[in-house]
């Protein structure tokens, strides 16, 4: 059975090897230059404030030519699980129904559950290996950029994306393995249920995209209870502020100085009692009108900026927890496929 699975999977295996090789060549060709720029940027030997400046210079150099590669790499790692789910997973069993070959294979002396299990195992493992391979290569290539972005907080998109930002988190660490496993088994399950490749592919894309948006926005921030901090406005404020008609104003924190690399979930102005404030005191409205800078006034009225965040130390706990969730989903889907085809008949 393993032989048949391998024989049927061979074209896809060769295609993915070619894709891996192309990706490796692209990154391998550009990495020496990138690493050279990093080595000569002074970041490796700097101290204190100077590091931030060196890192900023390095990133603006990178921005000249490598932003495209940077974005392409992220896209490759993030799209791989979806592409695998759609083009390997969905047709895997749906195609057997479409061509009627299941009638031939099911009549060999092998149980259906074993047939499904071995069909899932080999391409499923390959999906995980390929995606994690892409991710590791990309992480290796982009390591200097990530290092510099950490030293120069507030660098603009896309090079300045922190480790927790939506595409970066999804392309690094161990999560890509679990996304690949989930995308693949999702495709197979859709194929088992629809028995037609095309609708299965469409449904796989829709569900996978929905999950990959819903999890980072809805579930990832609350996997661990967030930490809270309140900063005085007298300190150097880093972030966005907007002042509107009638003294309405909002503050959003860009990063927390005492927590480098933290993932800020929400932030806003609060008064001394910790309540949210959205309208300036009248005195500060005058100050804003006359000097254009209400900060000192707001600070003297006890107004500060509060934020809830996940500290940088939560990076790996969140990575592993999310990986566990996706792998559990993938296992459940694989089990469903075996049960559905092994026990239930049309």
């Amino acid at each position: 059975m393993i032989w048949l699975t391998w024989r049927q999977f061979r074209p896809q295996a060769l295609t993915s090897l070619a894709a891996l090789a192309a990706f490796a060549m692209l990154l391998g060709a550009t990495e020496p230059h990138l690493a050279g720029m990093y080595a000569s940027s002074g970041i490796t030997t700097c101290h204190g404030q100077a590091c931030s400046r060196f890192a900023g210079n390095f990133l603006s150099l990178v921005n000249g030519g490598y932003t495209v590669v940077f974005m392409l790499g992220i896209a490759a790692v993030i799209l791989a699980p979806a592409v695998i789910g759609i083009f390997w997973g969905a047709p895997l069993i749906a195609r057997e129904f479409e061509t009627g070959t299941f009638r031939m294979v099911w009549m060999q002396s092998v149980t259906r559950a074993w047939w499904v299990a071995s069909k899932l195992a080999l391409p499923g493992l390959a999906a995980m290996v390929v995606t994690e391979g892409l991710s590791l290569m990309y992480s290796w290539w982009a390591a200097p950029i990530g290092q510099a972005a950490r030293l120069a907080p507030g660098t603009s998109f896309p090079l300045g994306m922190g480790p927790f930002s939506l595409p970066t988190f999804d392309a690094h660490g161990v999560v890509p393995i679990s996304y690949a496993a989930f995308g693949f088994t999702l495709g197979v399950t859709a194929g088992v249920l629809f028995r037609r490749a095309l609708p299965a592919m469409a449904v796989t894309l829709a569900i996978f995209a929905a999950v990959q948006v819903a999890v980072p926005l809805g579930i990832r921030p609350s996997l661990f209870p967030p930490a809270h901090t309140t900063q005085s406005l007298a300190e150097n404020f880093s972030g966005q502020q907007s002042v509107g008609i009638g003294g309405k104003f909002t503050f959003a924190l860009g990063y927390i100085d005492s927590e480098p690399g933290a993932w800020i979930l929400s932030s806003g102005a609060v008064d001394a009692a910790g309540r949210q404030v959205s309208v300036m005191p009248a005195a500060c409205q005058n100050a804003a009108a006359s000097t254009g800078d209400p900060m000192q006034c707001l600070a003297s009225h006890g107004i500060g900026i509060a934020a809830s965040y996940q500290p940088a130390s939560r990076y790996w706990p969140i990575q592993w927890t999310e990986t566990g969730i996706y792998l559990a989903l993938a296992l459940a889907l694989a089990g469903f496929c075996c049960w559905r085809l092994g026990r239930r008949l049309p």
Binding site: F102, R103, W106, M107, T111, R112
Partner: protein, 300 residues
């Protein structure tokens, strides 16, 4: 003699349509059984139920003593050639033989290889490039190579031209004689079955109309012709299967346990084809309409 397939009130419904209803039959071992009926009569449904590729809606079915779908041990004893002879288009002929060898403990590599040589198939050729007849032969080789006790063939010659059809059936007859198989074979063409079968199951309107050894069926059915009459009364023990009226003549197909001696009729033996057609006509109207719907459905 033991039964290879035994069904009890077997039925299969697809949404609202019953493809097969109330089917109770026993297929004896060591026979070549022809399953005949019009398109959409439920032949494929019955054979797929026997192969374990469908689950019955009602009733029970036992194949070689066990209900399908079953353990690998039973799968190894049943060979199945599905309608349209599915093969993996991207695998070569040789790879299909490897597939058979890897997936079946009782695989007879020698037999399979001999068949492929004899058929003149190119081992390196992709199965997708074979002609319809060659594909059916390859699929049959897969089904026979596992050395089954029961071979089920669903419309094996439907897509073949007359020459390929004849060759396939001759080859099948040879294989059957060589291996002492029980065979169930479906077709909607009587002449195919007449050539190879010694036992008949007539299926029409989703129901079993009659079963029995071919010789016995021929010996108990008669063709009666005489002057036209709308309703004929026949003695007890004689059952009219079908009646057709021409301008001045009435023709009856009659089933009788005793030989018919009736001066009012010209009595003659009935051909297998006439007998089967009589049973197809005999099937309830509802069933035939349903059969036609199925047919239309299939053509879409």
């Amino acid at each position: 003699m033991t039964a290879v397939i035994e069904t009890q009130g077997l039925g299969k419904r697809y949404r609202r349509l019953w493809a097969l209803a109330d089917c109770t039959l026993s297929v004896p071992a060591g026979r070549v059984v022809g399953l005949v009926g019009p398109n959409g009569a439920g032949k494929s449904t019955l054979l797929n139920l026997a192969a374990g590729l469908l689950a019955p809606t009602t009733g029970t079915i036992q194949v070689l003593g066990d209900p399908p779908p079953a353990r690998p041990a039973q799968l190894a004893r049943v060979g199945f050639l599905a309608q349209d002879a599915p093969v993996c288009a991207r695998l070569s002929v040789a790879e299909h033989l490897t597939l058979g060898a890897r997936l079946n403990p009782g695989w007879d590599a020698e037999l399979a290889r001999r068949r492929i040589d004899w058929l003149g198939l190119d081992l390196g050729q992709k199965a997708g490039k074979l002609s319809g007849g060659q594909r059916a032969q390859l699929a049959l080789t897969l089904a026979i190579g596992k050395r089954p006790e029961l071979l089920i063939l669903d419309e094996p010659v439907a897509s073949m031209d007359p020459l390929a059809r004849r060759e396939f059936l001759e080859d099948l007859t040879g294989a059957i004689a060589e291996q002492e198989l029980s065979v169930v074979l479906s077709s909607h063409l009587m002449e195919d079955l007449e050539r190879v079968c010694d036992y008949l199951i007539v299926l029409a309107g989703s129901r079993v109309q009659i079963t029995g050894p071919v010789e016995e069926l021929l010996a108990t059915h008669y063709l009666l012709t005489g002057p036209r009459r709308e309703s004929a009364t026949l003695p007890v023990g004689q059952q009219v299967i079908s009646a057709s009226h021409a301008d001045r003549k009435t023709t009856l197909v009659v089933r009788a346990s005793e030989p018919v001696f009736d001066p009012a009729w010209t009595v003659s033996g009935v051909s297998l084809e006439d007998m089967v057609l009589a049973y197809m006509r005999h099937a309830p109207q509802g069933g035939r309409r349903r059969a036609r719907e199925n047919q239309l459905e299939a053509q879409k």
